[in-house]
Structure formats: structure tokens, C-alpha cells
């Protein structure tokens, strides 16, 4: 937290260093607060003490319940002061300090007294600014008691016609919230407001958003003349307030099936904003143009020159957006110039921006494959620069994709990757590249030039990379007969490696490829054995091996005895935008198959096998918000006498492994239910959905209702993302869902 501190400013002040809060200390200020009890109030002194208390609160000083209550009661005594400035400070202080329910009555009665004592004031209802307060309160109150607020419709309607700009803004927001579930009512609201005069720019922006909503809900239309309210929104492009112009432009760009003709006026104003002196306007414009460029790149090309000047913008967000937009809208002739400009820019921006640029360059290269040389050189250069794992991985992935999709780029791309692994600090990337080299290198015109890079890894790197390099060498030997003698020499050296995995691999490859015999063409079955893909699902293989260990026999384990049948997923995974699938998601079609799948799943769990026949299962209900660290949804399975909650959990943090994951269900508001069984998760690694079950017994044949609060409890282990191994640091956590 901040300490009281004053910066000495020789240009402006001659005094010595001074701060009104120098050496401030909570205990001393609480002592000073005794002045609130004086019968003769010193308003100035009391204001100073309240200011100190506010400063302490802003510095993170915490007051105990006792201290807060004492201060609260002491401050309320100041209501009797005639000094309005002091009383205003009292209102602020009361809001800041936490209060118990017992104290509220004192506040409300004092406030009522304050309001009623002003006999010279006109009727409160005629004071415009006061009309703002209930609108704002209503917006908050709507969340908890919508019925109360909905009765205010007439008054809110009047407030919408108010001449005061902010009153209109808040009232319009409240009116929309009241009517948002009635499409026709919203449409009528928009119709009447677009015909009337809306004074407030903020209210205009709201109205444009509501109008867009109505347009969206009125159905798909490609004819500009047919799109309702288009004229109104297009007219807003000529408004005097910049925020209204921008809101209208953005609304137009977000129309579904927007035509080039509809887009033109919007793009024109956004182009003007690109050269604005205000960074927020430039940012807003370039961000919108970036989105438009994804779907209508040709519509944005007119703005290219303005965007090129934004590459050197001081604000790096603006510069990055400008570059990525240009990469989408640029043509083949501008690629080289663009690359030169981007090269200087890359060192100024953070890794997450760089990744965005890399992905844009990849798309550009696929769009203009003839330009692969300059783009690949650019990627290779930035690969050599400082950067984190995600950044380097993005570049490697981009190069790999370009190699795959552009045949001419293969040789240069592979060489770039080879140069990179000479000095790569990330084991994961080195192994990934070596594997890729092993697949693609033997197919090139001169595979031998890659051997040096691969064998250097055997000499210089850690065990994981060495093992990977040995496999890659063997692939070259298997695929290219002319290289076999030299490969065997190298593999023979690997037989004496320190690491057993490296030695085992080298031995396997050396013997299987015939290292001791004459050099012959490698048999296809050998290639298939060594480098072919395993057709057997890993889950089946694991089950087979476990069964073999439990019932050992004289016969060796036969991999052919493992079933190759893939167990069908009970449900297709539903991909929610911006989120990973969380295990068993909703069904795309065929409810009966879902019910069967759930029934099979539950009956396979011993704890719930006695529940009987499954009556019905609900759709998954999200318990956590989007983009949370731990995503949880719940499926409710209803049996005759039981309810089983299935919590589908996903850990979205790569640096963490969750262990002993359970759900604690608080059924205090579901008295007729009693918990009978639960099944927790032993571990929940990153991005691997898991299920937790909790079963409740319920009365049979009687409709029963209950409310269940859920708490996710787990232990966290930190994970080293480069190796994937947990680091053994523990902490317990509880997350309410």
C-alpha cells in the first residue's frame, strides 16, 4: 500500500517537504476523532479528521468492526452541524465505512430530517437532477426486485423526455432494462425515441445500441433500403459528438450480411478518426477496422495509408492493431514494405502483441504464397530475438504450417528451424522440431544436410532432447538408405549415453534397422513398427496392461489382443466460444442417446448403482462465469428417490494441477434432501475435463424443491509448463460456484 509521500518540487514550492498526511497513523486519527463528540463542534477540525480517515481507508488501512462502529456513531453526531460542507463529508464517510444493519435506521432518519428541514426548497420531484437518482437506483434494484421497478414505467417514461441530458441517459437505460424481455416493447421504444429529439450524446449511444438490437432481431436483410432504422443510424454518422459518430459506425460494421454500400459511410468516418489527435479515437477506429478487415478486407483497403502512419504511434495497442489490420488488407506488392516497417516495431511490443502479429503474418503468407521467402526470413529473425515460450511456439507453429502448405518453402523453413534448435532454451520446442524434422527431412532433396544439426543435439542437450534426436536420426536412417552407414555410426555412439531412455532407443533402432549387418533397404514392416502410429486407443492399451499385470500369465503381453474399438463419447463436446469444452457437454441431437449415456455412466459408478433407473437428466447449467480459472457446469440426474449432481470441471490454467477436487454442497435450504454419497476427482490437470458426483436422497413420489450452494475445494500444485511436471508446491483453495 502507498505510504504518505510528498515529492519536492523546487520549481513551484519554496517550503520544505510537507504532506498533510505525513506520519499519519490509524490509532492517532481515531483518537483525534473524539472531537466529533464535542458539544461545540469545530467544523474545520472535524472535516480534517474525516479527510484523514478517508485517506487511511484509501491506503488500505482496515478498521475492525469495533473501530468502524465507533467511528460511524461518532460521525453521525456531526449531522447536527450547521456546516453543509461538513455534513456532505459525513455522508461520504458513512458510505465508506462499513455499517451493520442496526445502524442504518439512524442514517435514514437523519437523512430524512436533512431533506425535510429544507422548507425553502421547491418540490423535490421538480428538481431535474434528483430524477437521476431513482433511475440509477432502479438500474441496481432491477437485479434483485424487478417487480418494484417495473411499476415506475410511467415515471421513467416521463424522465426519458427530460431536457436534462444525464436524466434522459439514465432513464433510457432503465426503461430499456425494464422492457428488455419484450421485443415488441423495445421496438416501440426505439421507434418513438428515434423520431423524437435525444439531447444527450450518451443517450444517443444507448439508442444506437438498442436500435442495432432491434435490427438484429428483425431478421436477416441484405438490401439497405429494407433494413429498418438504417437511415437513423446512418444519420448519426453526421452527429456533432464523436462518440455518437463512432457508435453509429461501429453499429453499421456489425450488421449481419452488411453490404459494401452500407459499409462505405461508416468506413469513411472511421478513416477520419485514424488521423485524430486523440488516442482513444484512433484506438477505437483502428480496433473497429481490424474487426471489419476479418470479413471485408477490400472495404478497408482505402484506409491503408492512414494505418501505415499508425505503425509508429506511441500507443503500442494502436500500432499493433494497425499492423495486424494492414496484414489482412495489404496486397502482394505492399508486403515487402510492410515487413520493413514491422521489423523495427517488433522490439517495442510485448509478447502477447507479438503473437498476434505472428499469426497475422502466417495468414498473410498463406494468402500470398509467392512471398514466402521474405515472410519466412522475418519469422526466422524474430525467432532469434528475446521472447517467452508462447511467442517462440507461435513462430515455430507458423513456420511448420507454412512448410506444410507451401511446398517451395520446405527447405528454407526446415533450415530455419534447424538453426533455431541450435540455441533453443525450450525442451518442448526442440523435441517438437526434431520430430517434425524426422518426418519432413528425409523427403527433401538433400537430407544429409540436416544430420549435423540433429546429432549436435545428442551431444549438447538434455536427456529429453537427446532421446528425441536419436529417434529423428533413426528415421533418417530408415527412410534414406544412402545415409544408413553414417547413421549407424552415430547411433553406435548413442549406445553409451548416460540416460537409459536414450540408450534404449538407440539400441532398439540400431538392432531393428540392422546396424550390425549389411546395409539393405529397410523393410516396410520395420518402418511401420518403429515409426508408424499406434492404432490402439491409449485408454484401451492402459486397461489391457492393467489387466495383464493383475492376472499375470506365462504368455508375453500381446498388443494385438487389445481392442482397437474406440469407446464412443456419450455426447459430442459442445464448443462454447472462448472456452474449452468441459467434458460431457450438451447434446447436438438425439436426446435418447444422451440419457442412455448418462445411465451407463452412473450405473458404472458403484456409489450410484443402487439409485435405480434414471428418470431424467437436465441440460448442463454453467455455475461459473466465462473465462474463469476453473470452469464448472452441473447436470442434475433425477432418480425415483435420489438426485445426483454431476459437476463437469475443467482447469484452464496451464501452470496448475488440481488434486483432491471435491464439491461441498450446502443443502441448508433444501431440508428434504440428505446427502448420501459423493465421488471426488483425484486430479484435474490442465484442459482435461473431469467429473465430480454428489448424490442426495429425496422423498419418493412427492414434488420437492430445494436450493443448493456449491463450493469447489481442491489443492493446487504448480506445474512447470516446459516439462509438464508438477513442482510440488501446495496450497489449498476454495472457490464458490
Amino acid at each position: 500500500m502507498a505510504q504518505p509521500f510528498v515529492k519536492k518540487d523546487d520549481d513551484r514550492e519554496d517550503d520544505a517537504e510537507y504532506s498533510p498526511f505525513m506520519g499519519i497513523e490509524k490509532g492517532a486519527v481515531l483518537q483525534e476523532a473524539r472531537v466529533f463528540n464535542d458539544p461545540q463542534l469545530d467544523a474545520r477540525r472535524c472535516s480534517q479528521v474525516i479527510t484523514k480517515l478517508l485517506y487511511l481507508l484509501n491506503q488500505g488501512e482496515t478498521f475492525t468492526k469495533t473501530e468502524a462502529t465507533e467511528v460511524f456513531f461518532a460521525v453521525t453526531k456531526l449531522f447536527q452541524s450547521r456546516d453543509t460542507g461538513l455534513r456532505r463529508m459525513v455522508y461520504l464517510m458513512i458510505k465508506e465505512i462499513s455499517t451493520s444493519a442496526d445502524e442504518v435506521i439512524i442514517v435514514t432518519s437523519s437523512l430524512m430530517k436533512d431533506m425535510n428541514s429544507r422548507t425553502d426548497m421547491p418540490s423535490w420531484t421538480k428538481i431535474p437532477w434528483l430524477q437521476v437518482l431513482p433511475s440509477v437506483s432502479g438500474i441496481h434494484l432491477l437485479q434483485t426486485n424487478p417487480e418494484i421497478v417495473k411499476r415506475w414505467s410511467n415515471e421513467v417514461q416521463e424522465a426519458v423526455q427530460s431536457r436534462a441530458a444525464l436524466v434522459q441517459f439514465h432513464a433510457l437505460a432503465l426503461l430499456h432494462q425494464i422492457r428488455q424481455n419484450d421485443r415488441l416493447a423495445v421496438s416501440k421504444l426505439v421507434t418513438s425515441m428515434t423520431k423524437g429529439s435525444v439531447r444527450s450524446p450518451l443517450a444517443q449511444c444507448l439508442l444506437i445500441r438498442y436500435t442495432s438490437q432491434v435490427i438484429r432481431e428483425s431478421g436477416v436483410n441484405t438490401q439497405p433500403g429494407d433494413r429498418p432504422f438504417y437511415d437513423y443510424i446512418e444519420g448519426c454518422l453526421r452527429h456533432k459528438a464523436e462518440m455518437v459518430i463512432f457508435e453509429a459506425a461501429r453499429a453499421i460494421t456489425e450488421f449481419s450480411n452488411v453490404t459494401a454500400r452500407e459499409l462505405t459511410p461508416a468506413i469513411t468516418v472511421l478513416q477520419l478518426f485514424l488521423s485524430s489527435s486523440k488516442p482513444v479515437l484512433r484506438f477505437a477506429a483502428v480496433r473497429t477496422l481490424n474487426k471489419v478487415a476479418m470479413t471485408h478486407p477490400m472495404a478497408v483497403t482505402n484506409c491503408n495509408i492512414d494505418m501505415e502512419s499508425l505503425i509508429s504511434d506511441q500507443n503500442r495497442s494502436i500500432a499493433t492493431l494497425a499492423i495486424t489490420t494492414l496484414l489482412k488488407t495489404g496486397n502482394e506488392s505492399s508486403v515487402d514494405r510492410l515487413m520493413k516497417q514491422i521489423t523495427n516495431f517488433m522490439s517495442d511490443i510485448a509478447d502477447e502483441f507479438k503473437i498476434v502479429v505472428v499469426e497475422a503474418i502466417r495468414s498473410l503468407c498463406l494468402k500470398f504464397p509467392l512471398k514466402y521467402r521474405s515472410l519466412m526470413n522475418f519469422l526466422s529473425n524474430i525467432l532469434r530475438e528475446e521472447g517467452g515460450f508462447e511467442f517462440k511456439k507461435a513462430i515455430v507453429d507458423a513456420i511448420v504450417i507454412l512448410i506444410r502448405d507451401i511446398p517451395d518453402a520446405k527447405e528454407s523453413g526446415l533450415l530455419h528451424l534447424c538453426e533455431f534448435i541450435e540455441d533453443c532454451e525450450f525442451t518442448y520446442l526442440s523435441t517438437q522440431i526434431l520430430h517434425f524434422l524426422g518426418n519432413e527431412g528425409p523427403k527433401t532433396s538433400d537430407p544429409s544436410k540436416y544430420i549435423r544439426y540433429i546429432y549436435n543435439r545428442v551431444i549438447l542437450e538434455n536427456a529429453t532432447v537427446r532421446a528425441s534426436a536419436v529417434s529423428t536420426l533413426a528415421k533418417f536412417g530408415a527412410m534414406v538408405d544412402s545415409l544408413k552407414p553414417r547413421i549407424f555410426i552415430l547411433l553406435r555412439r548413442c549406445l553409451f549415453d548416460n540416460d537409459d531412455e536414450v540408450r534404449d532407443r538407440a539400441t532398439l533402432y540400431f538392432n531393428t534397422l540392422g546396424g550390425d549387418g549389411p546395409v539393405v533397404e529397410t523393410d516396410e514392416s520395420v518402418k511401420d513398427f518403429l515409426f508408424g502410429s499406434l492404432d490402439i486407443p491409449l485408454a484401451n492399451l492402459e486397461t489391457g496392461l492393467k489387466n495383464y499385470i493383475q492376472d499375470p500369465s506365462e504368455e508375453p503381453f500381446d498388443v494385438n489382443s487389445v481392442s482397437k474399438e474406440v469407446k464412443s463419447q456419450p455426447l459430442a463436446e459442445k464448443k462454447v466460444p472462448g472456452r474449452k469444452p468441459t467434458g460431457l457437454g450438451t447434446l447436438p441431437a438425439g436426446p435418447t442417446s444422451a440419457a442412455d449415456a448418462y445411465e451407463r455412466l452412473l450405473s458404472s459408478i458403484p456409489e450410484f448403482a443402487s439409485c435405480g433407473k434414471l428418470f431424467k437428466s437436465s441440460v448442463p447449467v454453467e455455475l461459473t462465469e466465462e473465462e474463469t480459472e476453473y470452469a464448472v457446469n452441473v447436470v442434475k440426474h433425477i432418480f425415483d428417490q435420489h438426485v445426483v449432481f454431476q459437476y463437469n470441471c475443467t482447469n484452464t490454467i496451464p501452470e496448475q494441477l488440481l488434486e483432491n477436487v471435491t464439491v461441498i454442497v450446502d443443502a441448508s435450504e433444501a431440508e428434504e434432501f440428505s446427502e448420501v454419497a459423493s465421488k471426488s476427482l483425484r486430479s484435474l490437470p490442465y484442459d482435461t475435463p473431469g467429473q465430480i458426483f454428489v448424490a442426495f436422497e429425496k422423498p419418493q413420489g412427492v414434488p420437492t424443491v430445494g436450493k443448493f450452494s456449491n463450493m469447489l475445494r481442491f489443492t493446487v500444485k504448480e506445474v512447470d509448463t516446459s516439462t509438464g511436471e508438477p513442482e510440488g508446491r501446495w496450497s489449498g483453495r476454495r472457490v464458490p460456484t
Binding site: N58, W129, E242, V280, N315
Partner: protein, 147 residues
């Protein structure tokens, strides 16, 4: 919703903060993030020159004003342009209270009044009052306009 308003000194020490709808455990993260953002980007920036940043669906506008830096964080309807309005209102109010872009000492001297102004400008995460004369009257418990 306006998630946060923060005012810090040139050293990155926070002088005033207001959070709305931000859980207590997230606030320290926001504090350090915003201070770091300012430390990296506000050097050499002119008075009231607006800077903007965004992360996922949350927008931040910030600026330097005298010896203090002002940060405003918003989401949903409070995008970068709405936040620009908010920050303009705040800097106008500061100018009105302090008479000029404040030194840190001047800011601390007027601390109470500044807190009152912020209380009038932002209410529970919504922009409430924007006119500086109105704010000036409201902090003195006077009706905002003459009758």
C-alpha cells in the same frame, strides 16, 4: 460498468481508489497492474493526453495530470470512448478544485474535496454527474442549478 477509478502519484503510490463490482481479492492485482501500466507508458506524456489499453473485454484509459496519474477502468457499455468522457470529467473536477494541474502536495491538501467530487461523479459504477458547476454545488449540498 465503471470498475475502478484510481489516482496515483508519480512514484506509483495510490492516493485515491474507488472500486465497483471488483472482489476484494482482485483489487491488489488491479492496483499493481495499473501502476505498472502507468510506469511503463506515462513517461514523457503531456498533461491530459489520454492513453488507452484493453484486456479481453475490459478497457482502461489513463492520463497524467500535474503530479498525479488518473486511471479509469470500465467494461460493457463503458468502452474506451465512454471512459474518455469519465476521465475528462475527473480531470476537470481536479482542475476546478486545485486551480491548476496539481502537485502532489496540492492534491493532498485538497484531498477531502477531491474525494467528494469523485463521489458525485461516479456512483456505484455508473457515471452520475459530469458538469463541473453542478458537481461544485453538490459537494456543498446545494441544489445543482439555480431556481
Amino acid at each position: 460498468m465503471l470498475l475502478a477509478v484510481l489516482i496515483a502519484n508519480s512514484e506509483g503510490n495510490i492516493l485515491v481508489e474507488r472500486f465497483n463490482g471488483v472482489p476484494v481479492e482482485e483489487r491488489s492485482h488491479w492496483r499493481s497492474f495499473l501502476v505498472k501500466l502507468g510506469a511503463e507508458n506515462l513517461i514523457g506524456v503531456k498533461n491530459e493526453e489520454l492513453l488507452v489499453a484493453c484486456h479481453k473485454s475490459v478497457y482502461i484509459t489513463y492520463t497524467v495530470f500535474g503530479d498525479v496519474s488518473v486511471y479509469v477502468v470500465g467494461k460493457d457499455e463503458y468502452d474506451e470512448l465512454a471512459l474518455a468522457e469519465v476521465i475528462f470529467v475527473i480531470t476537470s473536477a481536479l482542475k476546478d478544485v486545485c486551480g491548476k494541474p496539481p502537485t502532489e502536495r496540492l492534491f493532498l491538501d485538497k484531498y477531502g474535496k477531491i474525494c467528494l467530487c469523485l463521489d458525485e461523479i461516479v456512483w456505484k459504477g455508473l457515471l452520475d454527474n459530469t458538469d463541473k458547476d453542478r458537481i461544485k454545488r453538490l459537494v456543498r449540498l446545494k441544489p445543482p442549478t439555480e431556481f
